[in-house]
């Protein structure tokens, strides 16, 4: 058995109480949601929080809903709910793509979108998905709420804009017409973290790409936002050549490091291949031409 070091534990019954606990306990306290990132680190004694504030009872943070021209997802929404949601499947199919290849059912039954984003691991699929969709996240603290663009949320490896005493409560995704989105991943084995993954979203207007979003997982110290490739796509008609061109940009603009999953050249190559594939699928969906 792998045993964590000693820690104290509190189970919050409301968001306010969770925030109050976090404020009181200070920097040695950690939120625990699904626990599928935090507990393994604690068991390997790579993380030693002194206090855990458990938010699993906060049912008010588990939802997927439409709110005006946004789709909103509560931070405690589990992977399995993202996978099963018909609303997401219809409006943002990229979620189902991603959830089919994130971990395994056991992890998906517990792990949450909030935990995934807050873990800020560059290999996290949902971070790439939210980057492509240009999501915003809502962070709440004792002083109230603030909304942060996903771009500004991931500030470095394993670092986010969430400060001590704060909680991520919601993810907000703008819904725009002509949208198509897709997620592509290569893994060594089902349930493994990505060797590389690409999330792509495009918004087509009058036969042209009005806007595009691309996020890459596992090919940089943090989630890679392919701003330059998005620029290449904007204003042009979707085509194989164009997606290939974006793929080339992806190979150039990522910064992978070598590890057990593969060497740098391979990961760069994959970033390109997967960007092209994700764009192709996203476009087919936007144009209702998916095979």
């Amino acid at each position: 058995m792998q045993t964590p070091a000693p820690f104290d534990y509190e189970r919050a019954t409301s968001v306010e109480e969770a925030i109050a606990s976090l404020q009181r306990l200070g920097p040695e306290a950690r939120v625990i949601a699904g626990g599928h990132s935090l507990l393994p680190m604690m068991k390997l004694r790579l993380a030693h929080p002194e206090y855990l504030v458990d938010i699993n009872d906060l049912a008010e943070l588990a939802y997927i809903a439409e709110d005006g021209d946004e789709i909103v997802i509560g931070a405690l929404t589990r992977h399995v709910e993202l996978l099963k949601s018909e609303l997401l499947a219809e409006r943002l199919p990229i979620f189902r793509d991603a959830e089919q290849v994130i971990a395994d059912p056991v992890v998906r039954n517990r792990g949450t979108i909030g935990g995934s984003l807050c873990q800020a691991d560059a290999a996290e699929d949902l971070s790439a998905v939210c980057t492509a969709l240009k999501a915003k996240v809502v962070i709440r603290g004792a002083e109230g709420e603030r909304t942060v663009g996903i771009e500004d949320f991931h500030v470095g490896p394993y670092m986010t804009a969430v400060r001590d005493g704060e909680l991520l409560t919601e993810v907000r995704i703008p819904v725009r017409p002509g949208a198509g989105s897709a997620h592509e991943k290569v893994e060594r084995r089902a349930g493994d973290w990505a060797i590389a993954a690409a999330s792509a979203a495009i918004w087509v207007d009058g036969g042209k790409i009005a806007d595009a979003g691309i996020g890459l997982a596992a090919v940089g110290p943090t989630t890679v936002h392919l701003a330059r490739a998005e620029e290449v796509l904007r204003g042009k008609a979707p085509s194989e050549d164009l997606f290939a061109e974006a793929g080339v940009v992806a190979t150039e603009d990522c910064s992978p490091s070598a590890d057990g999953r593969g060497p740098v050249d391979y990961k760069r190559h994959l970033a390109g291949v997967l960007t092209t594939r994700a764009l192709r699928r996203a476009a087919a969906r936007a144009l209702h031409q998916e095979a």
Partner: protein, 794 residues
């Protein structure tokens, strides 16, 4: 009974004995009612945890345990110094080497055992580990086996008198050099390949652990420990700890997989025993996943160079040179007389003119092991090598790989067949089995599909392997482990009610012994399998024997059970003769009943005979009463199962990702006692083979840090990587086994990796010029090979 319900099959007319039967043991497993080591809690039990070396090679300057001892829940901290006073600092390995129980002078691999903490609970024990201060002086590490013998390589085993280099055993040879040179000189085609069978790990889902319970009042040592060879373990403890063997009892509870990993005695076991002797209370120690992957018996790690030649269209000769990486201590599992295990079965299924094999073993700063991961002592490496070489030769000769095999097979009339390395294969009809596999696969159709796909830029590969294994160690004249013959006992008692208990020394870890062995007794005595209880895993309640690994349970223990059943049947005949007032030779047997020849109405059922055997009524003259018997079985030879495997893979041309789309496995393991269990064994082994071929690897950086110390980095396959396996069979009974059975447990693990790798190369050769790729065929490694720069695994 639902659990032993017969399924409707061709064998339906044979309700007793052999046939498809649900496993008796599954009733408790599927209800979560198995009893594994972790389910056992003894009164007063304390917990151990192991401090391990962070360095691969370092001198230990000092160990300070005072802060750990000050922990309120810590009872004791044991170091090498303490063990020295008990004479337990070093222990023998199963290869006659020695291994430090706790490191005193130096640590020799990352993860090596340094100190053992005993505390009231496992959390405290693990907390206390962090309070022990060890001062290390790091030394350069030897990681690459090929560099272990460099003159400037640091000497790892300076504890051994006279050891001046990293040679772990003298050069070992088999076959004949001269005739092999001649075969190569006369050949018209020769191929050479460097082939690595990388280090992998059996990774049983239940890790290793023990509860040692020494009773100071009686001197009795009770051990609970899921190992694959309880009787051999008891003997080893008697030697190591100087304890009286008759005062040691080992009980193996249910075991969550072994695969060879639970054959050896590990330092944690010895520490728990020493701890219990010192503390006088039961000590439990269960390793975690990281400890299992980084310190217990790994498998393979063979660096091989091989040449194979052909003349007039068939394979004629083979030359092999191996460097075997044994890690820091040589604890390879193998019979004493075969320093490289059964690697020299490398001639495969082919009628070679000559072969010559050399194996050199080296020490490195890596975990010790070289256990047989679901294989009989290095047969897996041999089969992989020869089946890769045949494919390489076929490529060179531009002939279909199946065609070359068919031309080169040992012919049925040649059996018993003596190979050029000295093995006597018992039986076989290889071409027939190959044909069944081709038919099942639709081989010619697959080749057509491949050509069409290739034209469209898709990469599809078809890979073949044909293996022969030698399993069921083994004959006393050839095989022993640490001086213990590889024979098995069996003890059968039929109670007055006609229900029976058979005790065996083989130790199931999931193989279904409780069902298969009951079926053997059932078949031989004609009573239902549910009336036979199979007792195993308790050294006080079972006869001596060497345990379960090397596919030896059915070949050796199964034979013992058949023979002991027949002994009981003969006894029953004597008793029946008295009952029926006739002579034994006038009786004939039908399932479950002796009857008078010529008067079949007149007979006695086995349960009537059993009742009589224990009754106050007349028994045969000089007969002691009771209906039981005991045997020890010494197999005359190994059994030689074989099989034809065909893998179909698709390779993503852009990402290098390999998908095993189909897998056809036709096994000939002789007579199948429970075909359903055989199928289950094959399914499991094929899954493992897919894992080994595609993802499993223990790798190290230059400092000797293990890079695969959890299931995040050491990948084992899931159902999603496994196609719906297509199984077939041929039955060539083993001529010397009482039931005609051969071992099968390991065949799929042994036979499948070469089929998959051959398929990957088949997919890539024509378009990308790939001639060889080492396992594991991960997307990155396959892609590198497609770019023309395949890399050996590190």
């Amino acid at each position: 009974m639902a659990t032993t319900e017969n399924l409707p099959t061709a064998e339906a007319e044979r309700p007793i004995g052999f046939g498809r039967l649900k496993r008796k043991e599954d009733a408790r497993f599927i209800r979560g009612q198995g009893t594994y080591l972790d389910d056992i809690r003894l009164p007063g039990m304390v917990h151990g945890a192991m401090l391990r070396s962070p360095y691969a090679h370092a001198r230990i300057l000092s160990i300070d345990t005072s802060r750990a001892l000050a922990h309120p829940n810590v009872a004791a901290v044991i170091t090498a110094k303490d063990l020295e006073t008990l004479g337990l600092a070093w222990m023998p390995t199963i290869s006659y080497d020695t291994q430090a129980v706790l490191a005193g002078d130096k640590v020799r691999f990352q993860g090596q055992e340094v100190a053992f903490v005993i505390a009231t609970d496992e959390y405290s024990a693990n907390d206390a580990l962090q309070l022990i201060e060890v001062d290390y002086e790091p030394l350069p590490a030897v990681v690459n086996a090929r560099k272990a013998l460099d003159p400037d390589a640091p000497v790892i085993r300076d504890d051994k008198a006279g050891q001046r280099d990293n040679l772990a055993s003298p050069l070992w040879e088999a076959g004949d050099k001269e005739s092999t040179d001649r075969a190569f000189a006369e050949a018209d085609t020769v191929v050479t390949r460097d082939i690595i069978y990388p280090r992998c790990h059996p990774a049983p889902l239940e890790t290793c652990g023990i509860i040692a319970d020494f009773n100071p009042a009686t001197g009795q040592l009770d051990i609970y420990n899921g190992n694959q060879a309880p009787h051999a373990h008891r003997t080893v403890y008697a030697h190591v700890a100087g304890l009286a063997e008759h005062m040691i009892r080992i009980r193996c509870q249910d075991i969550g997989g072994g695969f060879g990993n639970k054959v050896p005695v590990y330092p944690g076991y010895v520490c728990a025993i020493a701890g219990s002797i010192v503390a006088g209370v039961p000590v439990k120690w269960v390793e975690n996943r990281t400890e299992n992957l980084t310190s217990t018996g790994f498998a393979r790690d063979y660096v091989m160079r091989s040449e194979m030649c052909a003349k007039d269209g068939r394979i004629t000769g083979l030359r092999v040179n191996v460097i075997a990486d044994h890690g820091a201590f040589d604890s390879t599992a193998q019979p004493t007389k075969f320093p490289a295990g059964f690697f020299h079965i490398v001639c495969g299924s082919y009628d070679l003119q000559a072969s010559h094999v050399q194996v050199k073993a080296v020490y490195t700063n890596k975990a010790p092991g070289g256990v047989a991961y679901r294989c009989s002592f290095r047969i897996t490496e041999a089969v992989y090598l020869v089946e890769r070489m045949v494919d390489a030769l076929a490529l060179e000769m531009k002939v279909d790989p199946i065609e070359l095999r068919l031309r080169s097979f040992i012919a049925p009339a040649q059996f018993p067949y003596e190979t050029t390395t000295g093995w006597t294969y018992d039986s076989g009809n290889y071409a027939a089995t190959m044909q069944v596999a081709m038919d099942l696969a639709g081989y010619n159709e697959l080749r057509r599909e491949q050509a069409e796909k290739r034209a469209r830029g898709e990469l599809m590969g078809i890979g073949v392997s044909f293996f022969t294994e030698g399993v069921g160690a083994g004959p006393r004249k050839h095989m022993d482990i640490l001086g213990l013959s590889m024979n098995d006992g069996a003890d059968l008692r039929v109670h007055p009610s006609g229900k029976a208990v058979v005790s065996i020394s083989a130790q199931t870890q999931g193989q279904g012994h409780e069902t298969t062995f009951a079926q053997i007794v059932a078949e031989e005595l004609g009573i239902p399998p549910e009336d036979v209880e199979v007792r195993h895993g308790d050294t006080d309640r079972s006869p001596y024997g060497l345990g379960t690994y090397g596919s030896r349970s059915t070949p050796v223990s199964g034979a013992a059970v058949a023979v002991v059943s027949r002994k009981v049947r003969d006894k029953a005949r004597q008793i029946a003769a008295t009952m029926l007032e006739t002579r034994p030779e006038d009786l004939a047997w039908e399932k479950g009943r002796w009857y008078v020849k010529g008067d079949p109405e007149k007979g006695a059922l086995i349960e009537e005979i059993a009742a009589r055997a224990y009754s106050g009524e007349e028994l045969p003259e000089g007969f002691e009463g009771g209906l039981d018997a005991q045997v020890i079985y010494d197999p005359p030879n190994l059994t030689y199962p074989y099989g034809a495997y065909i893998a179909v893979v698709d390779v993503d041309p852009d990402t290098g990702h390999v998908k095993v789309r189909r897998f056809i496995a036709v096994d000939d393991c002789g007579v199948r006692i429970n075909p359903m269990i055989v199928d289950g064994q094959i399914h499991g082994g094929l899954a493992e083979g897919i894992g080994i071929a595609l993802m499993e690897l223990l790798s190290f950086d230059e400092e000797g840090n293990c890079l695969n110390s959890s299931f995040m980095d050491y990948l084992i396959p899931t159902a999603l990587e496994c196609p719906d396996f297509e199984l077939g069979e041929t039955v060539t009974p083993c001529p010397h086994h009482p039931l005609g059975a051969k071992g099968v447990g390991e065949s799929p693990n042994v036979g499948s990796p070469p089929a998959i790798v051959n398929a990957v190369i088949d997919a890539l050769h024509e378009t990308h010029g790939v001639e060889h790729i080492d396992m594991p065929c991960t997307p990155a490694r396959v892609w590198a090979a497609m770019q023309g720069r395949p890399e050996p695994p590190q």
